[in-house]
Amino acid sequence: MKKVIKLTVNGMEKELLVDVHSTLLDVLREDLGLKGTKKGCNQGECGACTVLIDGNPVPSCSLLAVKADGKDVLTIEGVAEAGKLHAIQEVFNEKGAIQCGFCTPGMILVTKKLLDDNPNPDEQEIKEAIAGNICRCTGYAQIIEAIMALAGRKQVR
């Protein structure tokens, strides 16, 4: 069974004919070619597939594309503006919060939501915000450090 859905993806309106059994992740990667959104566990555990839906971070592997009908989707491709990296991306680069990069799109989108809601999170709030995003490389230290730097806080260790 197929259905027509409307999505706003990174500010552009799209009308798509999708299989009702496709996840949003598959539609983003395969139909729209937006491969910045990663497929890790494909079952809601790792956060590699995170996108912002109406501003909220959601694992796109756990959401049927038809359920996103009418929604606003932001993927990592839409974070940089006019060819210039977003401040979060810059700081992640500087602080070495990126190693293999597989978790990075999700981490950046979750950070964006966190800082949009609360520009000055403390370390505990940062840890809670990234609890659904697994990183196998950095040990989280540099990621937390990067977000602390963005929040203008000194890390206590």
């Binding site: 009702v20 809601g44 694992p59 592997c61 959401l63 979750v110 659904g132």
Partner: protein, 330 residues
């Protein structure tokens, strides 16, 4: 792990939804889908169609009256966490919702989906390939249970975080079916069966529409305490919900205790009231009562830890929940 093909319907009224569910065979209700999608990918369920509740506005309502809160089944866990009135009136509900899955999943996960959560087992929640190496167990249509080795029943563990809290609060739920609407106590929704753990899973053809939670009397303290292997994101090995009230002499006037993670449904430990009523809450009394309560739990090896470990941990989790509610340091 791709999804099998299925049809998808998202009717705009409850009446249409109930009718569809009862007319078309082999459908599955999808709320947030956070749990259902994993089950579909693992081919634990192979429905012909999904019935989505997304477009039924009445299921998203939150209503506070003087003495109770009524939540539509499609209210998300994130909404629950962000409600200051819930924090004030029903703090253990907020705590339990906050402990479910991860922040990402809580934007889509609903309270109805949490109450209707299927039971879990280390032989069940696996890919179809993994399961094929051993052959089906009783829950997946085989003859016997791989945990007990023989029996023709399933002991998979009920691991939802929110039900024990709502049972401790004395919540009731609204169900809609072909015979109309009815309201039952949440405790009666569960049957303790591992295979089809609740009224709806057992085939009543109903939809969970709402949850009514009475506000506790003044002075009642409620707490949810959860223990899991991975703190960032994991189902509970054990969860304990406690509601208690102390009298003017600091003695226990009433106490309720409900546990999750240790049996095929939430376990309400009624004896705790006999054991502790009239007692002054001291660490020793709490540890004794928790030990007595833990004996009533009979976990089996459905997760990666041994039943003995689970019982030991239950004792600690229960003691901590009672102590926190009573304002005692253990």
């Amino acid at each position: 792990m791709r999804l099998n093909e299925f049809d998808y319907y998202d009717p705009a009224t409850l009446e249409e939804a109930v009718e569809l569910l009862n007319q078309k065979a082999n459908g599955a209700i999808i709320a947030g889908g956070s749990d259902l999608l994993v089950a579909l990918k693992q081919k634990l369920q192979t429905p012909n169609y999904l019935l989505s509740l997304d477009k039924i506005p009445s299921l998203k309502k939150v209503k506070f009256t003087e003495n109770k809160l009524t939540l539509g089944s499609m209210v998300t866990l994130d909404d629950i966490i962000k409600s200051s009135l819930i924090q004030e009136k029903l703090p253990a509900l907020k705590q339990a919702a906050w402990e479910v899955a991860s922040p990402l999943l809580r934007y889509q996960a609903t309270i109805g989906g949490n109450l209707c959560l299927n039971t879990r087992c280390r032989f069940y929640n696996q890919t179809s390939f993994w399961r094929s190496t051993r052959g089906p167990c009783f829950k997946t249509g085989g003859k016997s249970c791989h945990v007990t080795g023989t029996e023709e029943r399933c002991y998979a563990a009920f691991c939802a975080d929110i039900p024990p809290v709502l049972i401790a609060y004395g919540a009731r739920i609204n169900l809609a079916g072909m015979q109309g609407a009815r309201t039952i106590s949440l405790a009666d929704f569960y049957n303790g069966e591992g295979r089809f753990p609740n009224v709806i899973a057992a085939g009543s053809g109903e939809i969970l529409t709402g949850i009514e939670i009475p506000f506790p009397q003044t002075g009642v303290k409620s707490v949810y305490r959860k223990f899991r292997l991975r703190d960032s994101i994991d189902y509970p090995l054990v969860g304990a919900a406690v509601a208690l009230k102390l009298d003017a002499q600091n003695k226990i006037e009433m106490i309720t205790l409900s546990c999750t993670g240790t049996a095929s449904g939430p376990v309400n430990i009624k004896s705790i009231n006999e054991v502790l009523r009239g007692a002054v809450l001291k660490p020793e009394a709490i540890w004794d009562a928790a030990a007595a309560a833990a004996v009533e739990l009979h976990p089996l090896k459905t997760s990666l830890v041994s039943p003995r470990y689970k019982r030991d941990i239950s004792r600690v989790v229960i003691a901590e929940a009672i102590a926190t509610a009573g304002g005692v340091t253990l």
